[in-house]
């Protein structure tokens, strides 16, 4: 030990006594002396290793995980081999989740804006202050607009989302907007219009699979992606349509570089072949299908032949015939894969209908290897009673049809508009989902009334909703924005109040029945203690609602009895109880299930696939006729075309425009994971795919910096010159080109999708149409 060489003059002129007394002696200290009697072993690292089962939350799949924790620190996440749904698989994102709680960028305490919105001036506040502030702002908004729907609530799926809806229902707004209209609502609407439900595909047992734009090798869905990788090599035939040669295309038996927006010509022509050659399942059709004769007449009278389709979709007629015949030959173990994210085009619901109808006429339904309705493990539900409020107006996206027709280009330009659209253009929105594009237009135009409050849970609309500048303008109109997030997202940056949510590795999340061919129940338990002062949505809803209950003005438009019911059934019986009690009740039908969830992270009634429920005699489908509908009675009643008619694709506005395509990679979830170092290592920026010949015409070489422009915006990124994309399209994956100068790994790297996409939508489902934007490209 060397002698201290400090220069005494440098610090001996000060005295620490007064400061020590004022801080350490007055309760301002952060450390405390341990009591003599205190057992300090809990603070000591002893190398204790435990394995805790839970479920991933890095994307929507909720795959099984086993967390390896040493002395309270998460060291590694392993896949759960006993998880029926994820089949012992954990992807790169799931592995990288181990870094999430330890991200230095995560939110740690509630932050309240003190400067101008977006200026970046914040102060820390306590949770008590945060709850009070949120409750007071809700009261102010209610008083000012005398309409609870003047506050909108946006969220994304997740196990805690139901508690966000406790807050929504406790306040009483009808304006909620979720992710499906940026994701799979067209698919849900299309398939449901035929079968009454949105089914899964049994890729494990299918013999013949047609995948249209579902890049299952990259855009991972469990168990589908696992089964696809595992069972495809064992003899399954895969026909894949995509304007790009993707990882899935590489594994396909046949890949057709379909012309974008013309997939429906392919499926209609397949149908034509099957009907004309009478390859369909006559017995199944006779017993289960409504409208077959009208449908056949519709297909024949419109002459949806393979030769016609070839001129539309660039797939040879003979290949369409071959696919149709093979499909029928392998039926019922043939699948038109329903897919997941399907917000590609305007008119998309009708295309999805044709996929469902093809499977229906061949009887590829609810048997091994076919398309199968999801089964579910029934959970015991709680019965929260929320007050009925009087000062509530209908949702804006139901009332704003006039606005949407004026401003959304697809609705104006789509050739089918005026030939069957109902007055309420979003006729089939799910109750809570809303339509993001319509909602935003309504807010921007204050029609039918002003929306001035915005609560956001786990959504990042600034990045995820097409046309970022419009989203920012919408947010500028708000009197108050509260964002509940784990990181300072681009949306949180424009909030007034930011509430830090615990990561999925630090929280108890309630049980969730994941329906499917292999239905399971999942839940989460903390594998580590929260590092900072973060909370879950369960706790946040409880905190804000409790504060709301202390403000009488918030309850003036409800009857006292309803309010008392709310206090008892929501506050006392649910939110004031430990969340574990809530979970135990959910599983109360199944003795030992709660313990199994804690031990294994998953509960299933069986590990065998569930088939045949809808094949039982007398089964009634959830359609208007109770049958599988090829002629849709609901659409007919709403003034829509009851059967799918081909709609010509929008053409480029001028020479030199390319259709812009979006897609996914296996190592990122939308725009939420790019700044995670382990994932960033795999892919450091995005690049625009352009066909070799087109690149040559434009003088663009591989790696050149390119400027891509649309009516919505402009971005700059590197070129990836390749034969793997059609000449009339360009593509880049989303998640880069971030607005935030602080997203250190991805700031100024690559390009944003939301900045380029025009806000075009499918007129039936209200879903954003992500592949309807044309762009130009030039060397930057």
């Amino acid at each position: 030990m060397s002698a201290m060489k400090m220069n005494r003059r440098r610090f001996l002129g000060v005295s620490g006594g007064a400061l020590a007394a004022a801080t350490l002696g007055s309760g301002l200290g952060q450390l405390r002396a341990a009591e003599d009697s205190e057992d300090l072993s809990k603070f000591e690292s002893q190398g204790n290793k435990v394995s805790i089962a839970s479920n991933c939350a890095m994307c929507v799949n909720k795959c099984g995980i086993i967390a390896e924790v040493i002395d309270g620190r998460l060291h590694k996440i392993n896949p759960n081999p006993e998880h029926v749904k994820s089949r012992g698989m954990l992807c790169a994102k799931g592995n990288a989740g181990a870094a999430l709680p330890y991200s230095p960028d995560r939110l740690k305490r509630p932050l309240l804006r003190t400067g101008k919105r977006g200026e970046g001036k914040w102060k820390e506040i306590s949770w008590e202050e945060a709850y009070r502030h949120a409750a007071e702002k809700l009261a102010e908004l209610k008083k000012k607009y005398t309409n609870r729907s003047s506050v909108a609530f946006a969220s994304t799926e997740g196990l805690q989302e139901e508690f966000f809806y406790y807050l929504v229902s406790g306040f009483g707004s009808l304006n909620t907007v979720r992710h499906p209209t940026l994701c799979l609502s067209t698919n849900i609407q299309g398939w449901s219009s035929v079968y009454g439900v949105y089914p899964d595909a049994d890729l494990r047992h299918a013999e013949f699979v047609v995948m249209i734009g579902s890049d299952r090798a990259q855009s991972l869905i469990t168990p589908d992606s696992v089964d696809f990788q595992r069972y495809k090599p064992k003899g399954q035939i895969l026909v894949y349509l995509d304007p790009r040669f993707t990882e899935t295309a590489a594994k396909a038996d046949k890949w057709f570089a379909v012309k974008p927006r013309t997939d429906m010509a392919f499926t209609l022509a397949m149908t034509h072949v099957i009907l004309q050659e009478e390859l369909y399942d006559k017995a199944f059709v006779a017993e289960n299908v409504h409208g077959f004769e009208q449908f056949r007449e519709h297909i024949f009278s419109n002459e949806y032949t393979p030769e016609w389709a070839e001129t539309k979709c660039d797939i040879p007629a003979e290949e369409i015939r071959w696919t149709a015949r093979q499909f029928a030959r392998h039926a019922p173990r043939s699948v038109i894969y329903p897919g997941r994210r399907s917000s590609f085009y305007a008119h998309e619901v009708y295309f999805r209908q044709t996929c469902a109808m093809l499977t229906a006429i061949c009887g590829c339904w609810d048997v091994k290897g076919a398309v199968v309705p999801k089964s579910s493990v029934s959970l015991s539900s709680h019965t929260p009673l929320f007050p009925f409020f009087y000062d509530v107006e209908e949702r804006v996206d139901k009332e704003a049809v006039g606005i949407v027709k004026k401003v959304v280009p697809s609705v104006v330009d789509c050739p089918l508009v005026g030939t069957g659209l109902p007055e309420d253009s979003c006729a089939f929105l799910s109750e809570r989902d809303g339509s993001w594009i319509t909602f935003r237009e309504a807010v921007l135009h204050d029609e039918p009334y002003p929306v001035r409050g915005f609560f956001v849970f786990k959504q990042n609309p600034v990045q995820s909703v097409p046309n970022t500048s419009k989203t920012l303008k919408m947010m500028e109109k708000m009197d108050f924005i509260c964002v509940i997030e784990q990181q300072m997202s681009d949306t949180a940056w424009y909030a007034d109040l930011v509430l830090p949510h615990s990561t999925y590795l630090e929280s108890w999340d309630p049980c969730h029945a994941l329906s499917g061919i292999w239905p399971v129940v999942v839940a989460r338990q903390p594998v580590i203690q929260p590092l900072f002062k973060t909370k879950t949505m369960f706790e946040i809803s409880r905190g804000i609602l409790k504060e709301m209950l202390t403000i009488p003005e918030l309850w003036e438009d409800t009857d006292p009895e309803g309010l008392e019911d709310f206090k008892k059934t929501v506050m006392e019986e649910i939110l004031d109880q430990p969340i574990q009690a809530y979970m135990e009740h959910q599983l109360s039908k199944y003795p030992g299930a709660y313990e199994q969830i804690l031990e294994k992270g998953v509960f299933a009634l069986s590990d065998q696939p569930q088939y045949g429920t809808t094949r039982k005699k007398g089964f009634r489908f959830k359609t208007k006729t109770g049958k599988i509908e090829l002629f849709n009675e609901r659409f007919q009643a709403k003034g829509l075309d009851p059967m799918p008619s081909y709609c010509e694709a929008l053409r480029p506005r001028k020479e030199g425009e390319y259709r812009f395509l979006v897609g996914r990679t296996a190592w990122h979830t939308h725009s939420s994971t790019q700044n995670i170092p382990h994932l960033w290592e795999i892919m450091k920026e995005n690049a625009i795919w352009i066909n070799t010949e087109e690149a040559r015409k434009l003088g663009i070489r591989n790696g050149d910096s390119c400027r891509v422009s649309s009516k919505a915006g402009q971005q700059t990124l590197k070129a990836y010159v390749t034969e793997k994309i059609r000449r009339d399209a360009v593509y880049y994956v989303n998640g880069w080109g971030r607005l935030s100068p602080g997203m250190s790994l991805v700031y100024k790297k690559g390009a944003s999708e939301a900045e380029i996409l025009e806000d075009t939508m499918d007129s039936i489902s209200g879903s954003a149409a992500m592949h309807e934007t044309y762009v130009t490209l030039e060397k930057a």
């Binding site: 400090m6 405390r32 690292s45 002395d71 740690k108």
Partner: protein, 213 residues
């Protein structure tokens, strides 16, 4: 640091120069004022900074060549959050030691474990209500200050008291010293107000001067 300030009276951790209570008291104060500066300036912290910062002027002058000037509380809070808590998607100056010392640039790594164990062995534990990590800069600086409260008040201290205190201090202060240059650089790059630049400069120079190797 410039030598003109050196009066040649080295205050040793041990040996003939001894280690007196005045030294312990002064060192405690220096660590404490730095701890306060690197802490979120809530009302009480801000109040204490207002009252005591001036008394440490010689200290800051000696190690940074200038004194920190307090700015209005709301501005200071915004600056603190912007620099150390959350910015748009990242934190310019991560205030946690694990981030700098452990290879994967994450929080709560092995360094935190070692620091937590050392604090425990020294008889201190973090206030659990704080929702903070032991390797936060402000916590570590407070820990260093508290080491000196362990100096027996009876005069004169034992001859090896300085060595004993240095032994207690070294693990945490040593970690601080390792991270200080990078943190100081980041503060210089990102701070909008001089107060945190002064704090960063002082921290590094002060730790260097302690000669903890």
């Amino acid at each position: 640091m410039p030598d003109e300030h050196d009066d040649g009276q080295g205050a040793g951790w041990g040996g003939s120069a001894g280690f007196d209570l005045e030294t312990a008291d002064a060192l405690q104060g220096c660590f404490l004022i730095l701890s306060l500066l690197f802490r979120y300036p809530g009302p009480e912290v801000y109040q204490n900074l207002s009252e005591h910062l001036q008394g440490f002027e010689p200290f800051f002058q000696a190690y940074a060549g200038r004194s920190p000037r307090l700015i209005p509380q709301e501005e200071l809070q915004a600056e603190y959050v912007r620099l150390f808590v959350n910015n748009r998607g990242f934190v310019p100056v991560i205030p946690y030691l694990s981030y700098y010392r452990d290879s994967n640039r994450l929080l709560a790594g092995n360094s935190l474990k070692r620091i937590r164990d050392h604090m425990k062995r020294t008889g201190f534990v973090l206030d659990e209500d704080l929702g903070e990590l032991e390797d936060h800069l402000a916590v570590l600086l407070e820990f260093c200050a508290r080491i000196f409260s362990k100096c027996p008040r009876a005069e004169p201290p034992a001859e090896d008291e300085g060595v004993r205190l240095q032994t207690l201090l070294q693990p945490c202060a040593g970690y601080l010293l390792e991270a200080a240059p990078e943190m100081r650089g980041l503060i210089r790059e990102h701070a909008q107000y001089d107060i945190y630049r002064v704090a960063g400069d002082t921290l590094e120079n002060f730790l260097l001067d302690l000669d903890l190797q």
